[in-house]
Subunit: 257 residues, 2 copies
């Protein structure tokens, strides 16, 4: 079933009044019909089963059939991604959204291909659309957040403030694995810092370590930046979510429907 994230103002009482861009997508691209059901997510924990009552390119409406709690995403995963060439960066946003990342922090490191925040801001609308579409397509229940670009010092300090465990995969580390770094008491929020293609510059890894990041190895194979991003995100969630499952901990927000 088609899933849509909507803005709060699109939900009006028992109705969903879709925004114009979304209405066009429903009517023209997806060619949904009156009477069809879809799932609307409010990105605040609600999941609404709706039935389309009006399908027009400029104005679609639906009536809410059932309200449920969306499956909670229990692990907060913040990805610090060094800014790099457009295609690669967009690819990382898409794939990491599918895999389950909650927040993206674009970072300007000394070897980032992009050095000026202003070059980046112009791309934010496009990037948000990529994240939005990937989140819908992969059945996420939360729309990942995209933070403004930041320099390394600011980014690592903010990550350390937000997250219980901060990890930085680096080819210089040979011993500490992701699994090892995530062992111990249950962790609910993790930051992962993916370096630029040329690698971190002298001192940058140390700067992150000083801000409480743990250096980890992703194994003996050398991964490209974009591969490292999607693989490390998947491994972190796999480790933490399977621990959860081992605890039998589905709690009150288990699967719905």
């Amino acid at each position: 079933m088609q899933r849509f994230f909507v803005n709060p103002e699109e939900i009006q009482g028992q109705e969903v009044v879709f925004a114009p861009a979304r209405s066009r997508q429903i009517a023209r691209v997806l060619r949904l019909k009156n009477g069809q059901n879809c799932m609307v997510l409010d990105n605040r924990g609600g999941e609404l089963l709706v039935e389309l009552t009006q399908v027009e390119a400029g104005a679609c409406r639906a009536v809410i059939v059932e309200r449920a709690e969306a499956q909670r995403e229990r692990i907060d995963l913040l990805m610090l991604l060094s800014l790099t060439q457009r295609e690669k960066f967009e690819w990382m946003l898409q794939k990491c959204t599918e895999v389950g990342v909650s927040t993206f922090q674009p970072v300007i490191t000394s070897r980032s291909l992009v050095q000026q925040p202003v070059q980046t801001i112009a791309k934010y609308e496009r990037w948000k659309t990529i994240i939005w579409e990937a989140a819908e397509q992969s059945a996420r229940s939360r729309l990942p957040e995209l933070l403004p670009p930041a320099g390394l010092a600011e980014a690592v300090a903010e990550a350390a403030r937000r997250c219980q465990r901060c990890l930085i995969p680096w080819e210089g580390e040979k011993a500490r694995t992701l699994k090892g770094a995530l062992a111990g008491p249950a962790v609910g929020s993790v930051a992962l810092f993916i370096g630029p293609e040329g690698g971190f510059a002298e001192g940058e890894v140390q700067q992150a370590v000083n801000a409480s990041f743990n250096v980890v190895t992703l194994g003996r194979r050398i991964l490209r930046m974009e591969t490292a991003a999607v693989v490390s995100a998947a491994l972190v969630l796999h480790e933490l979510e399977s621990t959860e499952a081992d605890d039998g901990g589905t709690g009150s927000s288990g699967p719905i429907g």
Copy 2:
């Protein structure tokens, strides 16, 4: 240090006589110089530290300085990849090689975009180059093998013959995880079957199950085909290689140099 996989005939006694294409790459693309060291892999377990003695676009030579055993890749991971659009397929070959896949089996399923083996064979040279380059770049010690395209029945039968555990991620499965499916006695060879973008057709999953495949879930998020390929390959190797590490089992073929 630059790493090269060479064919057996390029190693002649104490010398490496590089093939013409490789010589061009060394001289023109990488612009290596006489006296520089590089690592030559024979794809049969040998890792040779060599020093370049002749750098010419048509004919490069090197003398072997040291012979070592390449780090053994202990897990055989066979990926059955449904044939799909060119870019996506090439991307999967590249990323899955980085991550550690040992063998690729292109498969024609009923929803594969490509239906004729003959359309595929023409691309084999290009695909082999992609795998070869990714293997060098990611410091693999073994060059993944690319099998000829096969239909589903043939591919699953061959996978079952080759591998101790055969897994097929499928959105219809909700309970059995990769971790669960790999639990138990140590496994040295795994097959993973990645379905086409439209999903498997009716009966195809059952056909694989009949050939001893286990259906698994990759979690509640729905991954695109290419994301599922790289993520599931990484998770399988992560599970099996970290079990290995937990056993303290580096054995006789531990890290070299």
